[in-house]
């Protein structure tokens, strides 16, 4: 939280004094996330902090206000560079737009590890991420099975431009294309529960025969649950990620289940990959941090419960 305040304060001031403030004994990694609008990022942060303690390093964990503020994230990157970190963990809001800011790290031989969302160049030594296409395809499979493999479906995707948004939409659409009796009638975009709920209720009105909806992140899934509750609809819903409200919705039967990534694992992977790289280890280009499909029945399974967050 201190770091968040720092980022909200005047960035110039930060870059002026921070060189001194971080010049402690422990190596310092700058970890830059996509924002704080979902509990997902708190879980990533927890993983990063746990791993930092284990590796004996200090980290900062910062991000822009919302997941649309690419320009703000570039400013945070620039400010982080001024702090002279020995490593950078970075969850890109855009796969290309931030190349220039990233390049200063590469030029200074500071290793970069991408996490959550990758970038479209080879500057990062590795990318710690969920295979979003495969994860959304699994959601599509579960949805298809639940509606008897035929009928109309729709999707509420959290955004149009990031790698996770694009990947989950593709995974869902590609898998549904294999189910010849299923038709995707609409795809909408919202990243906030209230707005997603209004979107989904309009879709339900537009398509009275709609049988299933996929919601691609926490905000969209909670919106889906609100829409189900407010309309009393019996449409089958499959969500993504967790968070208390989404877990409640699954327990209440509003959603049949959700895909969870491993956010704690993503945070751990970002920090441990930097430590390994600095020790001279070679890493795979992509480290799959895994995903699970969870329902009311396996939610308390220790393996699943460990990666779900409130």
């Amino acid at each position: 939280m201190k770091k968040l305040l720092a980022s909200a304060a005047v960035l110039a001031a930060v870059s002026a004094y921070s060189t001194a403030s971080y010049a402690g004994d422990a190596p310092y990694y700058a970890i830059i996330a996509k924002g704080f609008s979902h509990q997902f990022w708190q879980a990533v942060k927890l993983g990063a902090e746990t791993q930092a303690k284990a590796d004996g390093v200090t980290i900062s964990f910062e991000g822009p206000n919302t997941e649309a503020e690419i320009d703000k994230q570039i400013d945070i990157l620039n400010a982080a560079f001024a702090k002279k970190p020995v490593g950078l963990g970075f969850a890109a809001l855009d796969t290309k737009a931030e190349d220039k800011a990233l390049k200063q790290f590469a030029d200074a031989k500071i290793p970069i590890v991408a996490f959550d969302s990758g970038v479209a160049n080879d500057m990062p030594v590795t990318t710690c991420t969920t295979d979003n296409v495969a994860a959304a395809a699994e959601a599509a499979k579960q949805l298809a099975a639940a509606i008897g493999d035929e009928g109309e479906v729709a999707a509420e995707i959290h955004d149009q431009t990031s790698a996770t948004g694009i990947g989950r939409r593709k995974g869902f659409e590609d898998e549904m294309a294999k189910h010849t009796k299923i038709k995707i009638v609409d795809v909408k975009f919202a990243n906030e529960a209230g707005k997603a709920a209004d979107d989904i209720k309009a879709m339900m009105t537009a398509h009275p025969n709609l049988k299933g909806i996929f919601a691609s992140n926490e905000g969209a899934a909670v919106g889906l649950a609100i829409a189900q509750k407010e309309t009393g609809s019996k449409i089958v819903g499959v969500g993504f990620d967790s968070g208390k409200k989404q877990k409640d919705a699954i327990n209440a039967g509003l959603l049949i289940g959700s895909i969870t990534q491993n956010p704690v694992g993503i945070g751990q992977c970002a920090v441990s990959s930097l430590t390994k790289t600095l020790k001279g280890e070679k890493l795979e280009k992509v480290i799959d941090t895994g995903f699970y499909y969870y329902t009311k029945d396996n939610m308390s399974d220790p393996k699943i419960a460990a990666v779900l967050y409130d």
Partner: protein, 334 residues
């Protein structure tokens, strides 16, 4: 106030009042046209269920729009309504969940918080003469940060307060008339609108809202304590943001600390589309409610027609600019 200035303000108000009525009529006609258009192009748009969807989607924006309207008529501006809404929602959460106090403390607490923040921003504007745009821009950002600090960036869930859902998603009227299904949020919006309209048109505070917006200097010269009234206007606006905070947190069953930024632009859009002049002195509550309905009918209608999401923003943008153009034309004629 001397007799001359009263006469002046009165005459100014009555001329503008007709323009406002005319523009309200234009906004209402646009709303009807949109509804007619979507009803003809989509077989499912015109249904009771969808009407409820639209009303629900309008409620928060209309309430924030009303908060903006009061300030904008007085020739001010409020960019902090969105994050203030969230701030009040969090205060309701802290009082009634974290501290476990009953809702009859938590709810007024949230409203008073809104009013208190309004007193702060209003005082900076009135006494220190900092432009309202700057003060409320600062408040928008500062409150966003405080929202995250106070909650440690974690939502506050109202699970321990089951009655909290009575504010927005529950439908009390359905107990009287089964199947009607209008959520309480819609009635809260209507109550806020009626009260705000009464304050604006029937009380001394309302008179000063218009007077400050038309000619602040004249009011000041007539010996009125302008600053005091300005603070009161921002306090009232802040309290209405508190109602918005109660509505959204009740619907989401939680106070979500990261939301709010961007809501001010929708609220200002509703205000302007509804015919409130950004230069002050003119505007109505009903116009703003119609403006908020225009925005949500557009959004819902285009979704029902399966038009790609991006065009929603294009359409609201076009309507906004058109509304301001009409506003300017009408003003010239008056």
């Amino acid at each position: 106030m001397t007799a001359t200035t009263i006469a002046e303000t009165e005459s100014a108000k009555s001329t503008f009042f007709t323009v406002a009525t005319l523009q309200k009529a234009v906004a209402f006609a646009v709303l009807l046209l949109l509804i007619a258009f979507f009803s003809f192009t989509s077989p499912v748009f015109l249904s009771w269920g969808n009407a409820i969807n639209i009303m629900t989607a309008t409620s928060v924006n209309a309430v924030l729009g009303i908060a903006c309207t009061l300030v904008i008529i007085s020739a001010g501006i409020d960019l902090s309504v969105g994050t203030l809404m969230t701030f009040c929602a969090i205060m309701a959460g802290i009082l009634s969940v974290n501290l476990g106090l009953p809702l009859y403390i938590g709810i007024p607490g949230a409203l008073l918080t809104g009013a208190a923040v309004g007193v702060c921003s209003g005082s900076l504007i009135a006494y220190l003469k900092i432009p309202p745009f700057i003060v409320t821009l600062g408040f928008m950002r500062a409150l966003y940060g405080l929202n995250l600090v106070m909650t440690n960036a974690k939502p506050i869930y109202f699970d321990d307060q089951p009655n909290y859902s009575l504010i927005s998603p529950d439908s009390s009227i359905s107990l009287l008339i089964p199947g009607l299904g209008i959520p309480n949020a819609v009635f809260v919006m209507l109550i806020v609108a009626v009260l705000a309209a009464i304050i604006l048109n029937r009380t001394i505070l309302g008179r000063f809202v218009f007077a400050l917006g038309s000619n602040e200097e004249a009011v000041r010269l007539s010996g009125v304590n302008v600053n005091k009234w300005k603070v009161a206007i921002y306090a009232l606006s802040g309290m209405i943001c508190g109602v918005g905070g109660l509505l959204i947190s009740s619907r989401l069953g939680s106070a979500q600390p990261a939301i709010g930024m961007g809501y001010e632009l929708d609220a200002i859009a509703a205000t302007v589309i509804g015919g409130t002049s950004l230069t002050g002195g003119r505007g109505t509550i009903l116009g703003t409610v119609i403006g908020a309905f225009i925005i949500s009918v557009l959004s819902n209608g285009l979704t029902v027609l399966s038009v790609a999401d991006q065009w929603k923003f294009v359409a609201t943008g076009v309507i906004l600019v058109t509304a301001v153009y009409i506003d300017m034309r009408l003003k010239k004629r008056a």
